[in-house]
């Protein structure tokens, strides 16, 4: 009874601060005014990352630390001193103005789950995880397991059958033969240590499921870099240029409509505008540091005579390549942009919203094929397809085949997808 009571007491005590009304929303506001200059939720900044910080420290400790960490350290708290050491002795500000409730609100905010971003997960490294494959693999594993069990059963039955025949040939019954065999070989099968046997069984079973799972998982994701968003040497914002300023993609990626490569613009293209535009209002009279990188790369001297403004000490800008198609696949931008009339966004995603460019599509062959099956070739307006168009038209008029019409005729228009015109054949892309 005493035990129970004391337990209740302890529990009620420990939950008291939690029961107090915490406001994560208020916490967010406070976080953004007070903490954000040194802390981020999911990434270490000047200070450590703060998401789920409560799992590491209890509230009482945190309250003391946040409000006046200097005092706290002076009090001789060991953990406080270690924390200070661990973070390179970077002194944290004193927040005496914050009430306990305020601090708890902030902590509540750090407890929230990260918001799920729309679109694919963004990371600076190639990722290789998705749910679809996971379920698929589980099914595959299950099927394999069932097959294994069935085979095992069949094998066992066959063995029994054979032994029966052997026993009959020796003139004894199967049971007799089995018994005499067992008495001879019993020793071998005595379970030495049941724990080991169980462990071995579990490991074996796990291996049976996970080995194929890893195998499939591995081969399917090698080299796929969807979501890849590396740091670039110049923090160029597509969101600003393509989104807010509405500059046409092909102003910079000018070769997209007549070359294999859309090409990263040469810096002299940047200079068409940035000879004049040297920064935003926020930069005041200073040259924006990112724009200054362009000037540095070109060794730009605005005072120079026309034609001699780019100096001799130029330095190449080494962008990190995001879209890496393997060498074995041939892709031509002009085929898709000029002939196919595709918008850049259909493959590259909401580029006009990207502060930092990431790989939107998986660039796997299945992804290519999907499009080749569904997009429409503009047979009516391109004379190259004249013969194809005429032939399909003729056939639609002459053949009274519902099947044919269903295939080539949709919404009163002739529809021919690349796949209907050999767009799925290997040597269209692999040579």
């Amino acid at each position: 009874m005493l035990k129970t009571l004391s337990l209740i007491f302890i529990l009620s005590f420990s939950f008291t601060p939690v029961i107090a009304q915490e406001n994560a929303e208020n916490g967010k506001a406070l976080f953004e005014t007070n903490c954000v200059s040194c802390h981020k939720l999911d990434k270490p900044s000047i200070g450590p990352k703060l998401r789920k910080i409560r799992s590491k420290y209890e509230d009482e400790w945190l309250l003391k630390w946040i409000k006046n960490n200097v005092e706290f350290r002076k009090s001789g708290d060991e953990r406080a001193i270690t924390t200070y050491e661990e973070n390179n002795q970077a002194a944290m500000n004193i927040f005496a103005n914050l009430t306990d409730a305020d601090v708890l609100d902030i902590l509540a905010y750090t407890d929230t789950e990260p918001e799920v971003a729309e679109g694919p997960a963004v990371s600076s490294e190639p990722t290789f995880f998705n749910n679809y494959t996971k379920y698929l693999l589980m099914i595959v594993a299950l099927v394999l397991l069932i097959t294994f069990l069935i085979l095992f059963r069949i094998f066992k039955e066959l063995r029994t059958l054979r032994r029966k025949q052997e026993a009959e040939a020796n003139g004894v019954t199967y049971e007799q033969a089995a018994q005499s065999w067992w008495s001879k070989n019993k020793e071998k099968f005595i379970i030495v240590n049941p724990t080991i046997t169980v462990l071995a069984g579990v490991t074996g079973f796990a291996a049976l499921i996970f080995v194929p799972w890893f195998f499939w998982f591995g081969i399917n994701k090698v080299g796929v870099q969807q979501g890849y968003a590396p740091e670039q040497p110049i923090a160029y914002s597509h969101k600003l240029h393509a989104g807010e300023l509405g500059i046409d993609c092909q102003y910079c990626h000018s070769t997209a409509s007549y070359s294999k490569s859309a090409s990263i613009p040469s810096l002299n293209t940047c200079m068409n505008c940035h000879k004049g535009v040297q920064g935003t209002e926020a930069d005041g009279d200073n040259i924006n540091p990112e724009i200054a990188k362009i000037y540095a790369a070109l060794d730009y001297n605005p005072e120079g005579k026309p034609g001699e403004q780019y100096g001799p000490n130029r330095k190449a800008v080494k962008w990190v390549r995001i879209h890496n198609l393997p060498d074995l696949a041939y892709f031509n931008h002009s085929q898709h942009v000029k002939v196919g009339g595709l918008q850049c966004q259909e493959c590259h995603g909401p580029i006009q919203d990207m502060e930092k460019v990431y790989q939107f599509s998986s660039l796997q062959m299945g992804w290519c094929i999907d499009c080749h099956r569904s997009k429409k070739i503009d047979v009516e307006n391109n004379n190259y397809y004249e013969k194809l168009h005429a032939s399909v038209k003729k056939k639609l008029n002459s053949v009274d085949s519902a099947e044919y019409k269903k295939q080539y005729f949709k919404d009163g228009k002739i529809v021919i997808t690349p796949s209907m015109n050999g767009g799925l054949e290997c040597a269209k892309c692999h040579y």
Partner: protein, 1054 residues
């Protein structure tokens, strides 16, 4: 005619050598080394399960680890200031001139690096022909063994130091009145010649000596003796009705062979207009292999044969005969028959001679005069300037140099230490006798290695130049890449030393544009412009076109001034009486006598006749070989006077009895790793006479080495053998005139297919259906297509060892078949009867096929010792290019377990490398044996240290074609990258695809226009017309695999 002919690829094929049959049976000469593995001591079959688990575990772990690996970070580096005319991903084409062959070319440039060279078809003088050397020469630009900066006494130096020292020495020597020789390969560039004049003005003791390793002195001097003009005239093979050649390999390496091929084949269409080609020669040359009638001859009889031919003609025309005691002829009354043919075509014939003896050339000129050819087929007023070397001048230079009479030597490209019979003396003199020696070679060679200074020249693709290959035609060369190394064009070096460079250093391209791009202007560019004295606009037009054709000088008949009687009697007196074997020194296709011997493509190119790669050899006639007890690959000692040489031997059908031949261009001692120490230097055998250098060596002793040593030559001749099936078809013009299907009338087997015919193959389908037609009457077997294909499709070079193992990677090969000519004593009918009688009664089928019977007769002939093997010198040859036939019902596609090879709706047999797992089933199942397996990774592999294994060499790779890795099959793709690109261009330009928009690499390179490619669904296309030609046949049509390649029956004008 084919009815009485049996074709064979080599002697082992003819006699059905058991080891050959064994190896020919398998597509791959070596199986997997299973037995070796199984016989290993620790290998137990019972441990299979464990091994399996080990492998399984390993592969799972490997894949899991690979999946966890971070992908490598790749960089993309754009231009800082993009040149206006460069678009990444789009090739630019520039007109230029091939520095090796003097032909106008078009250079394909991707992102500032040339990746392919083709002939410039707009230039009518040469018709866009480009030879093997012209195609392959681009590799030398990217040779990482080029000299990277100027050398002073073999040590790296810099231009300022070298220039200062050379100028000082030149001034000193010149002031002391010492002789300075500028030894160059023949220069036909007007501006370069002007630069040399500038040098002479500054240093009056400079003398310029032109030097050709393969000399045309005889031809030039012959014309000087005959007409007082030291020139090589223009020959017009397209105007000749009868062509007679005495040892001139005018389709192979003689003069502008690529242009001659174009002209020659234009007159080879069967019909009344078809020319007749009669060939006399000792070795079997490419030209001889194309002759309608070929007479084997010993070169020592050549003079007398020419005189006899003249006299035969004079007899008929009634002019005065040359006074000689004897008459000469070859077996089969060749001379008198030839005389008759020539007279019948009087005024429209052409006689050429490859000899370097000026006196022979005088007789040839006399024959052409007598036939009135100077009014039609020979234009002496429009000379060929490609070769101007004079043996007399050069030999006296060597004498003077050895005697210490010359104080300074400047070598401009020439490498006489290697390519002159007295090279050793030159080398010694360079080391001890001269005060100044400079060489401008691109890579270190025998001569530059002996010089004090090496001032490396640009490759021609980095240089500005103008040329005048033929009197009427000027061509321009422009750089297509920035200099790769710290090299300098020799013309600029000469201008610098002449102190004239400053006048031309002004940057005339002031208009730098708003982007501030720097145009560095070559002083020699300014120099050329100043010499041409034309407006900028005109000059740029010439540069764009690549050539200017001035008015062709009209043909006029020159007057003969030589005393032919005197010359004839001298020839008669000087006839060699030496015993022993007569050796002719010949060129290896594309090697330019050693200039391109460090080029892996040229080394790996099978010789069109012997099909030997990577080495030179002595080719003996069967008769001599049997008498000397020599077999293929036996190493033999060759002794000519004092000179000794050790080379492997081959038995060459067609080699005249009593003669032998050796390729020049091998045996380099100072060269890149590809050429160095490969074969023997046959230049040492040349006999440098007072009047001319003779490439025919008499009285050679050839014997087997005492140890019985052998050297296995890497020879492709019987690789990819097709089991004696009916592959080539041939007829005579006479028969063809009677029946256009002559030689092509075969009982068509009933064609039943397992498969339904696809819609896309049916007439009227809206898709393209690609097809190729190859005219065997035009194909000369010159191999330019093989090189072009290899460069376009990134085909790796595999090296000598791998070729020996039948693993050459060429997607396109040229099959060469021999067949016995008029074997005198064989009555085929009787023999056939005899053979049929040998068949036992119960033999099923009762009748032997005619083909099998012929094979038996030929086999008997081949082994007939009583016949003395003399008939082996008289064979004729058929060349057949063979590549993937893109079968409509392809046998390879049905056996691929992973669907890596599939068919497209455009009729292409597609090969998907990324799917291929290398079972090689397809290669086994291909009736044409055209699939190649990648046994190794040929790039970045020190075992295959050719161009693909270093960063510079890789710059020649075509970025539109995958570089294949090991373990996959590959084969001709019909240049699918070109098809796709042409289609895309048409789509972008909103038009339909025209015939001729797609030209495959082989088609573009073919100087004979023998290959035609196009859309078979286009009724008007050239290829469709050829597919309906009566001469057309598909190889192995009876298999009903529906090949997309058709060949045209060969018609001989006999």
């Amino acid at each position: 005619m084919t009815e009485n002919k049996k074709y064979w690829k080599g002697e082992e094929d003819l006699v059905r050598d058991p080891s050959f049959i064994h190896s020919a049976k398998n597509e791959f000469s070596e199986g997997l080394p299973l037995e070796e593995v199984l016989s290993e001591d620790d290998f137990e079959l019972s441990s299979n399960r464990r091994d399996f688990l080990k492998m399984f575990g390993f592969s799972v772990t490997a894949v899991a680890l690979a999946a966890c690996n971070k992908a490598p970070v790749r960089k993309a580096i754009p231009y800082l200031v993009k040149p206006n005319d460069v678009t990444p991903g789009v090739p630019n084409y520039y007109s230029s001139t091939c520095g090796y062959t003097g032909m106008p070319i078009e250079v394909k440039v991707r992102e500032g690096r040339p990746i392919k060279v083709d002939g410039n078809g707009r230039c009518a003088t040469f018709g866009g022909a480009l030879s093997v050397a012209g195609q392959a020469g681009i590799f030398d630009l990217y040779d990482n063994e080029r000299i990277k900066k100027p050398l002073r006494k073999g040590v790296d130096s810099d231009w300022a130091t070298v220039d200062k020292e050379i100028t000082t020495l030149l001034t000193k020597i010149s002031a002391a009145n010492g002789r300075i020789a500028l030894v160059s390969n023949s220069i036909h560039s007007p501006s370069t010649l002007a630069v040399i004049e500038d040098l002479k003005t500054k240093y009056p003791t400079v003398e310029h000596i032109n030097y050709d390793p393969i000399s045309y002195h005889g031809l030039i001097e012959g014309n000087n003796l005959s007409f007082g003009k030291s020139v090589i005239p223009s020959y017009h093979f397209d105007k000749a009705k009868v062509i007679v050649s005495f040892g001139a390999d005018f389709l192979g390496d003689w003069l502008t062979a690529e242009k001659f091929t174009k002209d020659y084949t234009s007159k080879r269409m069967p019909g009344d207009d078809m020319s007749q080609h009669i060939h006399f020669e000792s070795n079997m040359s490419l030209t001889g292999s194309n002759a309608d009638i070929r007479y084997p001859m010993q070169n020592k009889n050549q003079g007398m044969l020419l005189i006899s031919l003249y006299n035969e003609i004079a007899k008929v025309t009634g002019s005065k005969q040359m006074a000689v005691a004897g008459q000469a002829d070859v077996a089969g009354q060749g001379v008198s028959k030839t005389a008759k043919a020539l007279i019948a075509a009087k005024g429209n014939s052409l006689v050429v001679c490859g000899s370097n003896n000026p006196q022979y050339q005088v007789i040839v000129n006399a024959i052409n005069m007598a036939l009135g050819n100077y009014a039609s087929t020979i234009n002496i007023n429009n000379p060929v300037n490609l070769y101007t070397g004079n043996d007399e001048t050069f030999n006296s230079f060597v004498t003077d140099l050895t005697a210490g009479k010359i104080d300074g030597v400047l070598f401009y490209g020439a490498n006489p230490v290697y390519s002159h019979p007295n090279g050793a003396q030159i080398k010694k003199a360079l080391k001890s006798n001269v005060k100044l020696s400079v060489s401008s070679s691109i890579s270190l060679d025998e001569t530059s290695n002996s010089c004090q200074f090496v001032t490396p020249d640009h490759h021609y693709l980095e240089s500005w130049c103008d040329y005048q290959p033929v009197g009427s035609t000027f061509t321009l060369g422009q750089p297509t890449i920035s200099p790769v190394f710290d090299t300098r064009q020799m013309q600029e070096s000469l201008l610098t030393w002449a102190g004239a460079i400053d006048a031309y250093s002004e940057n005339t391209m002031k208009d730098n544009g708003i982007y501030g791009q720097e145009h560095s202007v070559s002083p020699f560019y300014n120099y050329i412009k100043s010499k041409w004295s034309v407006t900028d606009k005109e000059f740029n037009t010439y540069l764009h076109d690549g050539f200017v054709i001035k008015d062709t000088p009209t043909i006029s008949v020159p007057g003969m001034i030589a005393n032919t009687d005197e010359i004839a009697s001298e020839i008669e007196k000087s006839k060699s009486a030496a015993d022993g074997i007569e050796i002719t020194l010949i060129e290896k296709t594309g090697m330019l006598g050693g200039v391109l011997s460090n080029n892996p493509l040229v080394q790996e190119l099978p010789d069109p006749i012997s099909k030997v790669t990577w080495h030179n050899y002595i080719a003996l006639s069967k008769m001599n070989a049997v008498r000397l007890g020599i077999n293929d690959n036996d190493v033999v000692n060759i002794t000519v006077g004092e000179t000794k040489m050790v080379l492997p031997a081959i038995v060459q059908p067609g080699q005249a009895n009593g003669t032998a031949s050796i390729h020049l261009g091998f045996g380099r001692t100072v060269a890149g790793k590809v050429a160095k120490g490969r074969g023997e230097n046959a230049y040492a055998l040349i006999q440098a006479g007072a009047k001319f250098n003779s490439y025919v060596v008499n009285g050679a002793k050839v014997e087997k080495t005492s140890t019985g040593e052998t050297y296995e030559l890497a020879r492709t001749q019987t690789h990819h053998h097709i089991e004696g099936r009916d592959i080539v078809r041939e007829t005579t013009l006479e028969d063809y005139k009677k029946d256009n299907r002559a030689g092509n009338r075969y009982e068509k087997p009933e064609l039943v297919s397992l498969w339904y015919d696809h819609d896309y193959r049916k007439a009227g389908a809206p898709n393209h259906l690609w097809g190729m037609a190859i005219d065997m009457n035009k194909c000369t077997g010159c191999a330019a297509c093989i090189v072009s294909c290899s460069i376009e499709n990134n085909v790796p070079v595999v090296g000598e060892v791998e070729v020996r193992r039948r693993r050459e990677m060429h997607w396109l090969r040229i099959d060469r078949y021999f067949t016995f000519n008029n074997v005198k004593d064989v009555n085929y009918k009787e023999e056939l009867d005899a053979v049929s009688k040998m068949v036992p009664e119960n033999f099923e089928p009762k009748k032997l096929t005619r083909e099998k019977a012929l094979e038996a007769i030929d086999r008997k002939l081949a082994k007939d010792e009583n016949a003395g093997y003399e008939h082996f010198e008289n064979v004729s040859v058929v060349h057949q290019p063979m590549m993937c036939q893109h079968c409509g019902s392809a046998p390879c596609e049905t056996v691929c377990p992973v669907l890596a090879t599939t068919h497209s709706t455009e009729g292409l047999n597609q090969m998907t490398y990324n799917r291929c797992i290398g079972t090689k089933y397809c290669g086994n199942n291909c009736p044409y044996k055209v699939r190649r397996f990648n046994w190794f990774r040929y790039n970045d592999n020190s075992a295959f240290d050719f161009h693909f294994s270093n960063d510079l060499g890789k710059m020649v790779i075509n970025p539109d074609v995958t570089v294949r890795t090991r373990g996959v099959m590959e084969k001709c793709s019909f240049c699918v990258q070109r098809i796709q690109s042409a289609k895309l261009t048409a789509k972008r330009e909103n038009r339909s695809l025209e015939d001729g928009d797609v030209k495959t690499a082989c088609q573009k390179a073919c100087p004979a226009d023998a290959i035609v490619f196009g859309d078979l669904h286009d009724k008007e296309s050239e290829v469709t017309k050829l597919f309906h030609n009566e001469r057309g046949f598909a190889v192995l049509e009876e298999l009903n695999v529906k090949p997309s390649v058709r060949y045209m029956t060969k018609v001989r004008n006999i």
